[in-house]
Amino acid sequence: MAARLDRREVLKGIAGATLVLPALEAMGEAVSARPPRRFCAVYTANGMALPRPELGIDEWRWFPSVDAAGQLKLGKSTEPLEPFRDQLSFFGGLSHENGPKADSHICSDMWLTGAPLQDPQPGTFNSVAVDQVVAEHTKQHCRLRSLVLSIDSGVGFMSRTSTLSYDMEGRPIPAENSPRRVFDRLFRADASALAGRRNALGRQLSLVDAVLENATSFAKRLGRTDRETMQQYLASLDEMEARLAASEQWIDTPVKAQDRSFLDLDASPEGEPASYYQTMFDLIALAFDADITRSVSFMLSREDGMGISDTFPLKLGLPQTHHNLSHAGDRDGLLAFANYDRFLSEQLAHFLTRLSGYRDLDGTLLDNTLVLYGSGCSTTHWPKDLPTLVAGGRGMGLSHGHFVRDGEQRMTNLYVSLLQALGIEQESFADSTGSLNCPVFG
């Protein structure tokens, strides 16, 4: 308790004297020479269309081909990404070692974690997701440690998750799906409210402090009663206190001025899919541009026909739901599925366009952002050869325009490469055996 109170006193002292913490220097001002490095993971469920050669529609395979000159040739389902051909690379042959061992629908739960969900460690739920590792290393630089977005809010449930992100202890982080709520979370702190907010935060902080104290003594009294849950409560309270303290620091730092008038905050998952996805991507780009967070995950659709995203293909005039489309084996079915892939490529292209449109300290936002896009299975229930694409990051030394396919490789090795590109000195992640040896990361 004493340590916490000391920290509180320190923070109060600083705020009172309007000193600026060293960590705040990078905010908004061009103090640091190195531009911020950011990470965004975008996931779609149920895999991508990969029609067999005998159907004669190879041009609709999601994976690209490479011509004799080594040039990347995009298929029809990724054609909308053509303008970014030299700013992205495809990866084939990747998979999670644990993927084929586990329930076939659990691939989305595992996508960013690689955890052995078929045989989880006792007392654990999942393991940390790579976006949260990024968040852990970047949180001191920005207002929000991470932004967790999904088509369906909350966490869903194991094997049908509705969030991609798992905290450092492997607990699912509930996702937000409402553009308006995301907007409020990111930007709704106008100057007039700041004083009140500081006041409120200060009060909340002491309130949480006091509750924590009372709850700790209550937990002692409970003794052995369901110790785990009580510890989770205390840990959450502690984390909340840390967040409040962090928020308190940010109060005097204004959010970067931006044009946000184009946002369609009424877009909703119940409405038109493209306008919903594009609004969410707009929000991510704005958050990156204002350096509000450096780690984002966005789940575009859920596995196995869960949730509203399953109906999007129907809304677009395709004949079946997303999950059913993904099960197609015939030519027409696969064409329809591939057309949905193309729709998703259009949304991703919108995002990359937005990122390219913002100037960063050095180059564009896209140059300093790693966008990971893919699925946890190649075709439904086949958790190998995961469709994977990495875009952006030229400012971090990535060289693009490749289709990397070097036998079978571990997805977690790609994650190690991504973390390292982001400047996070980490030798391993989950079951990785090293980093990915390929021309993209030099």
Binding site: P174, L207, L222, R224, T225, T229
Partner: protein, 1034 residues
């Protein structure tokens, strides 16, 4: 601890679970439960002699495993997800299913496969011997009980805040949704995580809630009140200024609408909110076009207006109701026909809502607090517009009305009716025999509206409809003089008006009589205007308007729970930020309905019956809160509040802890109110409020204390905190002794429906129906309107079955349905039900209906909206109804072969025969195939000679059923014990917030079987669970 003695005794008795049943019928509280604590304290599981023997047995069969199994099932290959290399002699929770699977495969002879080393019969027996004993040993192990700390679900949190603070405003909107457990429930301790985000949302919600309650009582409230009166000529000073309302908008004529701000009449000081009357806008609309240019507006008619947007069907393929105009101003008020949901005839929602769509648009409403909408309305003594094609053949006793000779009144006629009764009104147009309707029932394009008014004995009945034939309307008239008035909007002139007496048994007379028996349902909705329609939410359920006399119908809600336009102050668009109060005669079905007469609509808000409000008084004006010493005041308020919030008395240290928070806050802010507020917030983010806590000191089961039991019961059976009665019983420690009576009270209470809503939805997976995207072309009747009621049907049915203690077999088949008019119409039971929106029990006499299995909310939900899905339906039946869940699918499931010429059924057969798929699908598909006769709309497919439906199935036990009827008969004769056990298992899981342990599972099965054999019902099973050790210990 009351009841401790018998409890211990029953623990001993429960070594033999069946023995315990004897006591279940005695008036003893502690009934038999599972043998969780049957093992002596000092016996650690691994040391049990029986387990030592199993380990020896395991060692002896290990060579067999190596020879016959490990080729495929070693730690590296683990084919089918099964690895036996590192397996232990006795399973744990994680490997239990592997053991179950091995037993199944060995018994069935499906493992080892044909291409592997064959297994001698004696070796097979030896292997089986070990696996079965190992599994049994695991299942017999005592499960340690360490009490429980279970977070309230979001729904429970919401109810707790509402009950505690007396506020209806939903403050928990930003709470992340609860996860769903493998068992399908959101209230399971294992999945109710508490993340920092959730805690943040709790803090946010607690602050909002406390701020709403702890108002400044010294400041009198400002209250808004206005009234819209309706009726031809009601406004003596109509304004001529045409309002610009945008696309497809109709304003009621200014002369027919009177807007006033009546004075407030309150028993306390308050200030009226004078609505703004002067505005300046730059953007407005002309038809569908936006117009720009600053304009000044002045007058209350720009702050409030009565509008009928989209009511003429302009945006829905010019739909015109042949039964007459949807709305009509008359001197008595505004007549409204039922608002037909647009998707009822279009398959999709019309942007502009149902027809007609009467709304009061308002520029300003309060943002917080309760509001009240009072509608003065009556049921119209209506006449019936004759459906085209009928009435024309009647000829006898035609009475020709005399046209007025006054040249200024040629639209008036007189007749003298000799005998009271039903009369057919005929309107002859000069030179036209008829204008028959189009093929879809819509009036011919050249037919125009005719308005008829019939006056007798001082009463005037009016109707306006398209003229399609001379036989126009049927009306009940007294004997005597009748004055008629008619106006035709087309080019032809009215030639003659005839009245024709119909016998009382004439079909049209009967139809009029049936209509006059019905009563309209008044509904009020609140929301906002958008450029493309409205976003509205109902203010409570619709109310039946029984009387022909005007009465006030009151609708109330918390305004913050309704859609809010959220525009900034001074938005320059004339139509931005408008809220709308919609008033409707709610549509039930296509049957004839008398029109609803609306005389006035009045709004008041924020609504206060007293000042300070009751919600404030309940928290801040408690015994001791008037003490002179501020700290004593705070102590009184905080102790009273925390005792209610935490559902039990406070300990001294808890009391001190809260007071410390108060002191610290007061020291920091110097503000007593602020300090009290902070401490109240702290109460609501404390674990004592957020969690259901059952304190335990040992791993042995211990009885719940009275308060723990009160909370557990209430959150189980009401999904809400305990009421004062339960808490006072807990305080008196009489809850255990009166458990049966208390359980009965909770079941019979209206709050029991909140339990049913959650339990039924989650048990039967109605969430699938919620997100179903149904094929509107193929299933036009499965409209959003109908779905809302179909969604409610399973909940109503189960409430009925439990309350009436129906036998478990009724879950499979019951001769009674719980339906309202909407659902009855969907089933084609029309005539049987005249209850409007009320769900009532109905005997159905139909072989395709009855019970849970044939509910459209279930069967349609288990489809993709186009085709039924036997795999989903089979999995559902196996899991939910007979509790024999199939194993999880193994990794690398091969796809259904691409053989498009085969039916799904045939492809499934192929898939089933593939290696690796057989095991699971033998436990799934056969349960789903008997439902093949039900379409993706959840209805039995109409019997067409060409459409051969193959609903036969080879069930896992070898029984062949030919069709659904045979399947249902099989379930009733062979599986009813499984149905009862499944109900008990799911209910016990839900009740206790955790999955039953293996001994508890066995006890549940035995208990259900016992109830079956003694003729017990669902209510008995529920009460047995409440009285069980599983529920009553921690």
């Amino acid at each position: 601890m009351n009841g401790c003695g018998p409890h211990r005794a029953s623990l001993d008795a429960s070594l033999d679970a069946s023995l315990g049943f004897a006591s279940m019928f005695a008036a003893v509280v502690w009934l038999a439960g599972p043998a969780v604590a049957a093992v002596a304290d000092d016996a650690r599981p691994g040391d049990l002699p029986a387990e030592v023997a199993i380990r020896e047995q395991f060692a002896s069969v290990q060579p067999l495993l190596a020879t016959h199994c490990l080729d495929c099932h070693d730690a590296d290959t683990h084919e089918g997800g099964v690895q036996l290399e590192t397996i232990d002699a006795i399973p744990d929770a994680a490997t239990r299913s592997v053991f179950q699977r091995v037993i199944r495969e060995l018994r069935a002879g499906t493992m080892p496969p044909e291409d592997a080393e064959p297994l001698e019969a004696s070796d097979r027996a030896a292997l089986l011997g070990w696996v079965e004993k190992g599994l049994a040993a695991f299942e017999a192990r005592p499960v340690p009980r360490n009490g429980s700390v279970r977070r309230l679900t979001v729904a429970q949190y919401r109810r707790a805040i509402r009950d505690l603070l007396g506020i209806d405003e939903d403050v928990a909107g930003s709470m992340p949704a609860d996860a769903i457990s493998k068992e399908g429930f959101t209230n399971q301790a294992a999945t109710l995580q508490l993340s920092p985000r959730q805690l943040e949302a709790s803090l946010e919600a607690a602050e909002r809630a406390v701020d709403l309650v702890m108002i400044d009582q010294a400041h009198p409230p400002a209250i808004q009140r206005f009234r819209v009166e309706l009726g031809t000529g009601v406004n003596p000073q109509p304004v001529d200024e045409p309002l610009i309302l945008g696309h497809i908008s109709r304003l009621l004529p200014s002369a027919d609408v009177l807007i006033t701000e009546p004075p407030l009449q309150k028993p306390f000081a308050c200030e009226p909110v004078a609505m703004r009357r002067k505005f300046r806008f730059i953007e407005g609309y002309q038809g569908n076009d936006t117009v720009r240019g600053w304009r000044e507006f002045s007058g209350l008619e720009h702050a409030v207006f009565a509008c009928l947007r989209g009511s003429d069907g302009d945006d829905v393929r010019d739909f015109i109701d042949p039964r007459g105009r949807g709305y009509q101003s008359v001197p008595e008020g505004l007549l409204l026909r039922p608002s037909i949901p647009a998707d009822r005839f279009l398959g999709v929602g019309s942007k502009y809502g149902p027809l007609p769509n009467f709304k009061v648009a308002v520029r300003e409403l309060p943002h917080h607090g309760r509001f009240r909408v009072t509608v003065r309305a009556a049921c119209c003594d209506d006449l019936l517009v004759v459906p085209p094609g009928s009435g024309e053949e009647r000829q006898e006793d035609e009475l020709v009305a005399n046209r007025s000779e006054d040249q200024a009144a040629t639209d008036r006629w007189q007749a003298k009716v000799a005998q009271a009764g039903v009369y057919l009104v005929r309107v002859m147009l000069a030179g036209v025999d008829a204008k028959p309707p189009q093929a879809d029932g819509q009036p011919a394009t050249e037919s125009h509206e005719i308005a008829v008014a019939i006056t007798s004995e001082g009463t005037t009945r009016r109707v306006t409809a398209r003229w399609m034939q001379p036989s126009f309307a049927v009306v009940r008239l007294p004997a005597g003089e009748v004055a008629l008035q008619a106006h035709y909007a087309g080019p032809e002139t009215i030639d003659q008006l005839h009245l024709l007496r119909l016998p009382d048994d004439d079909p049209l007379s009967l139809r009029l009589a049936a209509m006059q028996q019905r009563r309209p349902w008044l509904g009020v909705h609140l929301g906002l205007r958008r450029d493309c329609g409205s976003t509205l939410a109902p203010v409570g359920p619709p109310q039946r308007v029984d009387s022909g006399q005007l009465h006030d119908y009151v609708f109330e809600g918390a305004i913050a729970n309704f859609p809010d336009p959220q525009v900034e102050e001074g938005n320059p668009n004339y139509l931005a930020g408008l809220r709308e109060i919609a008033v409707r005669s709610e549509y039930t079905s296509d049957r004839d309905m008398p029109r609803l007469l609306v005389k006035s609509v009045e709004f008041e808000g924020p609504l206060h019956e007293q000042w300070p409000p009751a919600s404030y008084a309940a928290v801040a004006e408690v015994p001791g809160s008037d003490a002179a010493d501020p700290e004593r005041r705070a102590n009184a308020i905080l102790s009273t509040f925390a005792t209610r919030a935490w559902r039990r008395p406070l300990t001294a240290s808890e009391r001190d802890g809260l007071l410390t928070i108060w002191r610290q806050s007061r020291a920091a802010t110097g503000d007593e109110r602020q300090a009290t507020r902070d401490a109240l917030v702290a109460v609501l983010v404390s674990p004592q409020f957020l969690f259901l806590i059952e304190e335990s000191t040992t791993p042995e089961p211990e009885p719940l204390d009275g308060y723990e039991l009160a909370s557990k019961l209430a959150f189980f059976l009401w999904n809400a905190p305990p009421d004062a009665e339960l808490l006072s019983q807990a305080a008196a420690d009489t809850l255990h002794a009166g458990l049966v009576a208390h359980t009965d009270r909770l079941i019979d209470d209206v709050r029991f429906e909140a339990f049913a809503e959650v339990f039924v939805s989650e048990w039967l997976r109605l969430d699938r129906f919620d997100v179903l995207e149904s094929d509107a072309d193929r299933f036009p009747r499965l409209s959003r309107h109908v779905r809302r009621h179909l969604r409610e049907e399973p909940v109503r049915l189960l409430v009925h079955l439990i309350r009436t203690n129906a036998p478990p077999a009724d879950l499979v088949y019951s001769d009674t349905l719980l339906v309202n008019e909407v659902v009855a119409d969907y089933y084609g039971l029309d005539a049987a039900v005249e209850s409007g929106f009320d769900f009532v029990p109905v005997r159905h006499c139909r072989s395709d209906l009855g019970g849970l299995l044939t509910l459209p909310a279930v069967l349609a939900g288990l489809s993709d909206g186009r085709e039924p899905n036997p795999v989903k339906r089979g999995g559902w039946l196996a899991r939910k109804i007979i509790a024999q869940p199939p194993a999880d699918p193994p990794p690398n499931v091969p796809k259904l072969e691409d053989l498009t010429q085969l039916s799904l059924r045939e492809r499934l057969e192929q898939h089933r025969s593939a290696k690796g798929c057989t095991g699971c699908h033998q436990g799934i598909d056969p349960w789903g195939l008997p439902f093949e006769g039900y379409g993706a709309d959840g209805l039995a497919v109409a019997e067409e000679p060409d459409a051969e439906v193959d609903a036969s199935s080879l069930l896992p036990d070898g029984t062949v059923v030919d069709d659904f009827a045979a399947f249902r008969a099989y379930l009733l004769s062979e599986k009813v014990d499984r149905v009862a056990a499944s109900f008990a298992w799911h209910l016990a899981t839900y009740a206790s917030g955790r999955r039953p342990s293996p001994p508890e599972e066995r006890w549940l099965e035995q208990m259900a079987a016992k109830e079956l054999s003694r003729g017990g019902g669902l209510r008995d099973i529920l009460k047995a669970i409440v009285a069980s050790e599983m529920f009553l210990t921690k």
